[in-house]
Homo-oligomer: 187 residues x 2
């Protein structure tokens, strides 16, 4: 096997998730992950700081969500700006239902991984609020919209992942935005 390993990063992530699911997160070592992926430990550490990072590092979720919000048409109503961000976030999960399900099971079983997940979502909300302020959205609307966008994403993702089969995530997100409009509308 040559020194250049095609898709090393993805192979390591897939191997790690398989081992975490089969034998448990605690019992899995970096050496095992590397072996399972047909790679060396050194290669592992070129891509990830530790075995926890395999579950979190390099997710483009925040970048995709924020970029879509930042680049939505200037005239778009705020709800559509959020919708554009949720669409971009949804798209990255296409074809990844099984992967997401395995990952979710590992995270849900470990409080320290759940904490890390909460921190990533808080960071997403903060980045979204920045992007909305850059669009000229005043406070507190920017922060409220950002927190709302993350709330919708959390609920929509949960629905998507608990469905028996993979469905399009984006329509779930739009249903929730619509639901939110009904919920908060004044008679």
């Amino acid at each position: 096997m040559g020194r250049w390993e095609p898709n090393a990063r993805e192979r390591l992530a897939a191997a790690a998730l398989q081992l975490y699911s089969e034998q448990g997160y605690e019992r899995t070592t970096v050496a095992q992950i590397a072996r399972q992926a047909g790679l060396t430990e050194r290669t592992f550490f070129r891509h990830y700081a530790d075995k926890r990072e395999v579950l979190f590092a390099g997710s483009p979720l925040q970048e995709l969500f924020v970029t879509a919000v930042a680049t939505a048409p200037p005239s778009a109503p705020l709800v559509d700006v959020l919708g554009a961000g949720l669409d971009a976030a949804s798209e990255m999960f296409a074809g990844r239902h099984e992967h997401a399900l395995l990952r979710q099971a590992v995270v849900a079983a470990h409080p320290e991984l759940q904490e890390r997940e909460l921190i990533k979502l808080a960071s997403l909300a903060s980045a979204l609020a920045d992007a909305l302020r850059d669009r000229g959205v005043p406070e507190p609307t920017a922060t409220l919209a950002a927190e709302t966008g993350v709330a919708v994403f959390k609920v929509g993702f949960e629905r998507w992942i608990t469905a028996a089969e993979e469905t399009d995530m984006a329509p779930l997100m739009h249903d929730l935005l619509h639901e939110l409009g009904k919920m908060t509308a004044r008679g």
Copy 2:
């Protein structure tokens, strides 16, 4: 001083917050907190597991918020049910602006305390969703409403705490609910 110490819990909390603010959270010991409160370390540990818990333990926020949601009139629209919960949460902060400001500064300066705060908010959202399901609210509306309620609380609390002077928190929360209605309304 007798063995029964009136308001020991509150005195310890006030002393801890004062020391955390003056000399830093890390540099403050349980012994110092007890001395500052005119109490013993043993009394401290009867009330709190450790110095972190002083900042988190015993806040009635979740209980008040959830109880108000659970006991809102059965016919109340969902937005008013959330409003009732936010009112109850707001009420507990009346007269506590300075305390809340000091606490917030300590928490904001320490990632592990921020994590703990995020976990408490996630637990609040989960308890609110339970209470809403008990009211007969179907999913995903219950979870969406719960996450939204927490999002509004976070933003409203942030506005309340950053104001130069203490104002009523409840009107800020209702403004945000109204803002959310406008934001998600379909023209």
